[in-house]
């Protein structure tokens, strides 16, 4: 459970132009490998720009609602509060606290994200007052019965993926780069993702997730971006549609606030134990 917010925003970055390439793959191996290097480089540069433009926000708090919908339209709502601390030379730290459903109210997750090493995660169970260190190997499993996997919600780190630029495309009237991303961390449920990046603002607009059999599994759209501190873009809404099951999950964010003066002390086990 994790750095949900940050992750969502940033989780969108990846690109390689394989699909286009395969049809012409027989023509000239030398040219192709050069083309691949170029598209890999371009993909990486696009994503690095996405990463760079989102540096320096310090810390962030927000309230998030998660609306789970099944094929019949039945809805379940989860709400949580999220705090995230940007770390200089490491992955972000985040604390998420559940307000609903009521039976898990007060349950909280503390996560230290790392680019290459395994993340560190603690779970707080309020009924027992127990802090449990939990495995961070669970990347592909669903987050609280939603269509979001854990890996969809953890903070974006440039080194977690390899990239390939595919093409330019106009998505809903917005000029975009289309970039393929290949997860480099263990236990990912995806062989690749395809991300549409707004050319002007360098923010993700859409992500297609491909499962281990390379079948299109899910599509995530980012809706209603707002700019904060004159620089940082955050979506008010994100929709994840599962093409296999027909289920969907909508995330709604409210009350974003930045640079609240949070420190690492706000992300330790003592704080976890008094979170509510």
């Amino acid at each position: 459970m994790n750095n949900i917010i940050i992750g969502l925003l940033l989780a969108l970055l990846l690109g390689l132009g394989f699909a286009e390439e395969t049809s012409t793959a027989q023509i000239d191996t030398v040219e192709i490998s050069t083309a691949e290097v170029n598209t890999e480089q371009k993909g990486l540069e696009i994503m690095r720009e996405v990463d760079t433009r989102d540096l320096g926000w310090g810390d962030m708090s927000t309230d998030m609602k998660m609306i789970l919908k099944n094929k019949n339209g039945d809805e379940h709502v989860r709400s949580l509060r999220l705090k995230t601390l940007e770390m200089k030379d490491d992955g972000d730290k985040s604390l998420s606290i559940f307000d609903s459903p009521r039976d898990i109210k007060g349950t909280a997750f503390l996560i230290f994200t790392h680019a290459l090493e395994a993340d560190e995660q603690w779970l707080y169970l309020p009924a027992l007052k127990r802090v449990k260190r939990i495995s961070s190997s669970n990347k592909s499993g669903p987050f609280l019965g939603s269509e979001f996997a854990f890996e969809d919600l953890t903070s974006f780190e440039l080194k977690k993926y390899k990239y390939n630029y595919l093409r330019d495309e106009v998505l809903d009237g917005i000029d975009s780069f289309v970039v393929e991303t290949f997860p480099q961390y263990e236990h990912s449920g995806y062989v690749r993702n395809i991300v549409w990046i707004d050319k002007e603002r360098y923010i993700p607009l859409r992500i297609d997730y491909y499962d281990r059999k390379d079948a299109l599994l899910k599509t995530q759209s980012f809706i209603d971006y707002q700019q904060y501190l004159g620089q940082y873009w955050r979506a008010d809404k994100s929709l994840m549609q599962n093409h296999l099951t027909g289920k969907s999950t909508t995330l709604l964010w409210e009350n974003y606030s930045f640079r609240n003066g949070l420190t690492e002390r706000n992300f330790d086990k003592n704080t976890l134990k008094r979170s509510r």
Binding site: R102, R133, S135, R274
Partner: protein, 412 residues
């Protein structure tokens, strides 16, 4: 089960000063802050316990109904750096008057600063890492009439100062007010035979020395390792039991609370999908020194077949140097268990385990199931079964007490 002959019966019970503490805290809080942004939450539930064998004692029954309510009044201010919480609890139970009980689980004020936290009032504290038993966890008395799994606890008055540094957290505890372990009454189940006679409870210490306990703990996370080292001095929360004949020649079981110094270690390594766990204690009393440990692992297969299902396998070994004299049925036993988490909308979870005595092969089975309904309702089902216990084994007391427990609760 040894009865030290120098121990004299203590009839006077000292009740903890919960009322005074409560009044003081509430006055304090009212004086500093208008009553805004107070949050109320909690649950109400009904429970049915069903025993399917005839009771060992004809004073017992086969079916027990009860109702429970726990509320939490919570307030935080000063950017969450100051917290007040009040958590009263009540269970009204059929037949067993000992199980009808009220407790203040929490009535606490917390002040958090950058390098320290001050926590004052009635609180619950958990230490430890293992699943089958909680050896190191000693601050609170266990509420054994609420559930025999020992995970429910009575509120403990305390002053706790935590010093938070780069090298870890150092917690100091002053624990005034000793609370005796509550036991199932003569009409209740499950219980040992005959029922424990709490009115005759005995103690190593009396007065102030019995009431006060002191504890210190250092805890830290270093990479994959989470470690805690603790020391507790005061009246033991777990009694040993004395067997005595009363005037008519009937056997009585009397709890005896020793004055102890207990040093504990808890350690967990979290490596990939493995959790490796260790707890150990050394407990020194006036009559003996005991060593107990529990060590094991939990391995989880996540998202099996991409269905969202997690399957966890657990194994732990339990040892207590007191052997058959230990006030526990787990002295040289193996625990194995399996945990299913469906990660569905209803948050369905199942935990099934068995503890096997490595000498007698007596088995104790435990199954727990829980699932949400309509967002705010939770159904819990627990099954506890014992098998193969021979006379003389403590588990033999529970040979007829296999049961299911159903609880449906509404969370507000």
């Amino acid at each position: 089960m040894d009865a030290p002959c120098h121990v004299k019966p203590q009839m006077n019970k000292i009740s903890i000063p919960q009322g005074k503490l409560a009044a003081a805290l509430i006055l304090f809080l009212l004086s500093i802050k208008p009553l805004t942004a107070w949050e109320l939450s909690g649950y109400v539930g009904i429970e049915d316990m069903v025993f399917f064998e005839q009771p060992t004692d004809p004073q017992q029954y086969n079916n027990y109904l009860s109702g429970v309510i726990e509320a939490e009044l919570y307030h935080e201010w000063d950017n969450g750096n100051q917290i007040f919480a009040f958590v009263p609890f009540f269970r009204g139970a059929q037949f067993d008057s000992n199980r009808t009980h009220f407790d203040i689980r929490e009535l606490t004020y917390v002040y958090a600063a950058e390098a320290w936290e001050f926590r004052f009032g009635i609180r619950k504290v958990f230490w430890g890492v293992t699943e089958s038993v909680h050896l190191v966890d000693i601050i609170n008395q266990r509420d054994m009439v609420e559930n025999t799994d020992g995970e429910d606890k009575l509120g403990q008055p305390m002053i706790n100062f935590a010093w938070i540094q780069d090298w870890g957290t150092l917690d100091l505890f002053l624990l005034p007010g000793f609370r005796e372990m509550p036991f199932t009454g003569v009409n209740g189940r499950p219980r040992i035979q005959p029922a424990v006679d709490s009115s005759q409870a005995r103690f190593d210490k009396n007065g102030f020395a019995r009431q006060m306990a002191y504890a210190i703990r250092w805890s830290h996370s270093i990479g994959d390792w989470d470690i805690g080292v603790s020391n507790f001095y005061g009246t033991s929360r777990d009694p040993i039991f004395l067997l005595e004949d009363d005037a008519t020649g009937k056997i009585k079981i009397i709890p005896y609370y020793q004055n102890i110094n207990q040093t504990g270690l808890d350690l967990q390594a979290t490596i990939e999908s493995w959790l490796l766990k260790l707890e150990m204690i050394v407990r020194v009393s006036e009559i003996d020194t005991t060593f107990a440990t529990v060590a094991g692992f939990e391995y989880t297969f996540f998202n099996v077949g991409e269905t969202g299902l997690d399957i966890g396998l657990l194994a732990e070994y339990l040892y207590d140097s007191r052997g058959n004299r230990a006030p526990t049925i787990f002295q040289d036993d193996f625990f194995t268990g399996i945990r299913f988490a469906l990660n569905d909308v209803q948050d369905t979870q199942i935990l099934a385990g068995v503890i096997v005595d490595s000498n007698t092969f007596a088995q104790f089975y435990n199954i727990e199931f829980s699932r949400c309904f309509f967002d705010n309702f939770v159904l819990e089902v627990e099954g506890r079964f014992s098998n193969g216990a021979a006379p003389g084994d403590r588990a033999y007391f529970f040979r007829n007490d296999s049961h299911f427990r159903f609880e449906l609760s509404y969370h507000f």
